[in-house]
């Protein structure tokens, strides 16, 4: 039995600890839309492991070498059976795509599964079809569990239980090795603005 009533007195402490976060303030809720939410923005350079992943067609994808250096890259961790946040994350990509495709150079969108044994290339094909994600500018990746975990850990985005994963979007400017990390859900317009921001020096 792992029943832990002794945690009760600690509840207020847990709460207060949540308020003193040291992250930089994120952008204000966007453009007068009453209902778009705030996210926080950070910049990091990550040491990414070199792994061999698989795309939705079952073709090998060398990561991170396969991410184009001369185009913006937008990356999210998702999985196809995820309930709440992944459909929103992926649909944000889908909605933002029309605007993103007009940017020069054109961004590459990457949805990387954190549930690789369930998300076989076949499952990713179905998922991508549901998002009408045809074409080459949006890739869906899976792979061996150890490799995927190594990538997540490198992005400081690993949770032992995938069900507790957070909504994150990573953006990299052409020619840069720094990643912009968006913590939380954004609106599609906010995401487009962030991507545009990458291209402005």
């Amino acid at each position: 039995m792992r029943f832990r009533p002794w945690l009760l007195p600690w509840l207020p402490v847990l709460f207060v600890a949540g308020c003193g976060e040291g992250r930089t303030a994120g952008p204000a809720p966007g453009e007068g839309q009453a209902s778009s939410s705030a996210y926080t923005r950070e910049e990091h350079s990550y040491a990414l492991p070199e792994v061999r992943l698989l795309d939705r067609h079952g073709q090998p994808f060398a990561f991170p070498a396969g991410l184009p250096a001369d185009r913006p890259v937008l990356l999210q961790f998702v999985f196809t059976t995820c309930g709440t946040i992944c459909p929103i994350l992926s649909n944000t990509f889908r909605e933002a795509r029309r605007e993103l495709e007009r940017l020069d150079p054109r961004p590459l969108l990457v949805s990387l599964s954190i549930d690789p044994e369930q998300d076989t290339p076949e499952a990713l094909r179905d998922y991508a079809a549901g998002l009408q994600a045809g074409g080459r500018d949006w890739v869906f990746l899976t792979g061996r569990r150890e490799d995927i975990e190594a990538v997540q850990k490198a992005f400081d985005a690993w949770h032992r239980n995938k069900m507790n994963h957070e909504p994150l979007t990573f953006l990299r400017a052409p020619g840069s090795s720094t990643w912009v990390r968006l913590n939380g859900l954004s609106s599609a317009a906010q995401l487009v603005r962030e991507a545009r921001g990458l291209l402005r020096p």
């Binding site: 792992r2 308020c19 059976t81 995820c82 709440t84 649909n91 507790n164």
Partner: protein
């Protein structure tokens, strides 16, 4: 689609009989909107999340976020509120149980905790305010809901039907629980091996005894009374474990099960044992119709009902082994001169058929080696018996978990070279250090470790159930239990005889790959890894 809700069907019938008027809304149509995000004519629900992100159809279905039970979820720092009828009809106040549910078991982000702190008590919903919440995202007191809750474009009819379904959702707790006790059953199929059945039942019984002792001890601690409302202690129940032994042919099982359930309502089935002759299919179908969760029975032939929701399996049994074998045989160039040894049991035949399907062509098969058209170079053996490789026989023999679990570590270690086991079970060294903890528990209960894999699996099933129940507190809904198992499986510290198990929404097979193992007198447990963990669907 599998309703599995006789209770609801009865309510609906009664309603249809007395007050079918459209103003009340059609809960069955509401249920369809809730579960599929589609109307009966197939048109999708449409909504906007995060201000400007359109979601439709399955992505807009309430079930995606609020789950089938309506109890919501707390995933990825996102708190999805419960929306069962009783919850919506009352002012929202956070009980200790709610807070604990969201916090103590989860590794949650700080922002999430801060958000919980800011949650304001809201007044009760009525029909008009509920419909306004769905369309405009406003609570009864006018506060906006989080933008992750989509704002829906709903017709009058859609809104009424959804409201009618929500009012019924979670209206009554599931059977099998009272103020003091919670009842579970373990099903033993007629073809189960008696020795295995004893090992399994001994393990479950010991677990139950230990757990109940602990609960009694908690309840008797001074300062805590069972009647003190809204403490966590209210949620504690003593376990009752019933053994349901089925007899006769599978066609007679549903009737037996129904009679057993009527005599003693249970909240869920836990563990269970089947042999090679029949498979678990008929039990699964029955559970589905009853809406009764069935957690991790030990079987090599799980049911394969389409869209079934209530049964959880460790893995797909011989069907998984067959797909992995296809990968191994190809990789190792062992297809040429290969044949299958297939007995009369349902398990063996299902395995052989799945291998033929995975290979895209049938391998020669017979019940005995002598009956094969030509002496095989490579033999796949689906039963417990092991033909020996060697100069007089095949060069290599591939066997399955069935043959593996029929032998002790010493027997395995002394098998000849050329024999391999395809199995989702991990060899002992890969289970370290977790397996040591489990073995200590067995030692403390003074239980033997014969049929060790089976015992570990039963122990896992019981602990999984217990952990999932903790998450329910007093919201004793079977659907919520299913969701709790989906959510929590990956968090366990030990996984029985498996290296790792993981589930998710609508995922029902917790292990997705196989090892190829070979006898090794020097390895602990008598087996060493020949081919690493391989997930057939991920093989290039």
């Amino acid at each position: 689609m599998s309703p599995g809700r006789r209770g609801c069907a009865a309510v609906l019938l009664a309603l249809a009989a007395c007050s079918p008027g459209p103003p009340a809304g059609d809960p069955e149509r509401g249920r369809l909107l809730y579960l599929s995000g589609r109307r009966p004519d197939g048109t999708p629900l449409e909504a906007r999340a995060q201000g400007d992100v359109p979601v439709r159809g399955a992505d807009a279905a309430c079930v995606r976020c609020h789950q089938r039970s309506g109890m919501g979820s707390a995933e990825g720092g996102m708190l999805v509120l419960p929306i069962t009828g009783p919850r919506l009809a009352a002012p929202q106040e956070w009980s200790n149980q709610d807070l604990m549910r969201y916090l103590y078991r989860e590794e949650q982000e700080r922002a999430f905790k801060a958000k919980l702190l800011q949650m304001r008590i809201r007044p009760a919903y009525d029909r008009p305010s509920l419909i306004r919440a769905l369309r405009e995202g406003l609570r009864p007191d006018g506060h906006p809901l989080d933008p992750a809750m989509p704002r829906y474009r709903l017709s009058e009819e859609d809104a009424r039907d959804l409201a009618a379904w929500l009012e019924r959702l979670g209206a009554a707790p599931s059977p099998g629980v009272d103020e003091e006790r919670i009842h579970f059953a373990t099903v033993i199929l007629p073809d189960a091996d008696p020795g295995e059945a004893t090992a399994l039942l001994e393990t479950l019984e010991a677990w139950k005894e230990r757990r109940n002792q602990h609960v009694l001890w908690e309840l008797q601690k001074p300062g805590h009374s069972v009647r003190f409302k809204d403490t966590l202690y209210d949620a504690l129940r003593l376990w009752e474990l019933h053994v349901w032994r089925l007899e006769g042919p599978p066609s007679s099982w549903p009737e037996q099960l129904t009679a057993l359930l009527e005599e003693q309502p249970v909240f869920a089935l836990v563990s269970g044992l089947g042999g090679p002759r029949f498979g678990w299919g008929p039990v699964q179908a029955w559970c589905e119709a009853e809406g009764l969760p069935c957690l991790f029975p030990w079987t090599a032939l799980p049911g394969e009902e389409d869209g079934a929701w209530y049964s959880f399996w460790f893995h797909e049994g011989v069907r998984l082994e067959a797909r992995a074998l296809a990968v191994f045989l190809r990789q190792r160039k062992d297809l040429e001169g290969a044949a299958q040894l297939v007995g009369e049991t349902a398990e063996e035949r299902a395995g052989a058929a799945a291998l033929d399907a995975a290979l895209g062509r049938p391998l020669p098969r017979a019940a005995r080696v002598e009956e094969l058209p030509a002496p095989p170079r490579v033999l796949v053996a689906w039963g417990a018996a092991l033909p020996r490789p060697g100069p007089a026989g095949p060069e290599r023999v591939y066997a399955t978990t069935r043959a593996l679990t029929a032998r002790s570590a010493a027997e395995l270690a002394s098998l000849p070279a050329g024999l391999f086991f395809v199995t989702p079970c991990a060899p002992d060294p890969l289970l370290e250090p977790a397996i040591r903890q489990d073995r200590v528990w067995f030692r403390n209960q003074e239980l033997p470790l014969d049929h060790e894999r089976l015992r570990l699996a039963a122990y896992f099933a019981a602990r999984s159930l217990d952990n999932a129940l903790e998450h329910l507190f007093e919201d004793f809904y079977r659907d919520f239990l299913v969701e709790s198992i989906e959510h929590g499986t990956e968090e366990r510290m030990t996984f029985g005889p498996f290296h790792r198990l993981s589930l998710g929404r609508d995922q029902r097979h917790a292990a997705r790959g196989c090892f190829l193992l070979r006898p090794d007198p020097d390895a602990e447990g008598g087996l060493a890894v020949e081919e690493a963990w391989t997930v057939p669907g991920l093989a290039e």
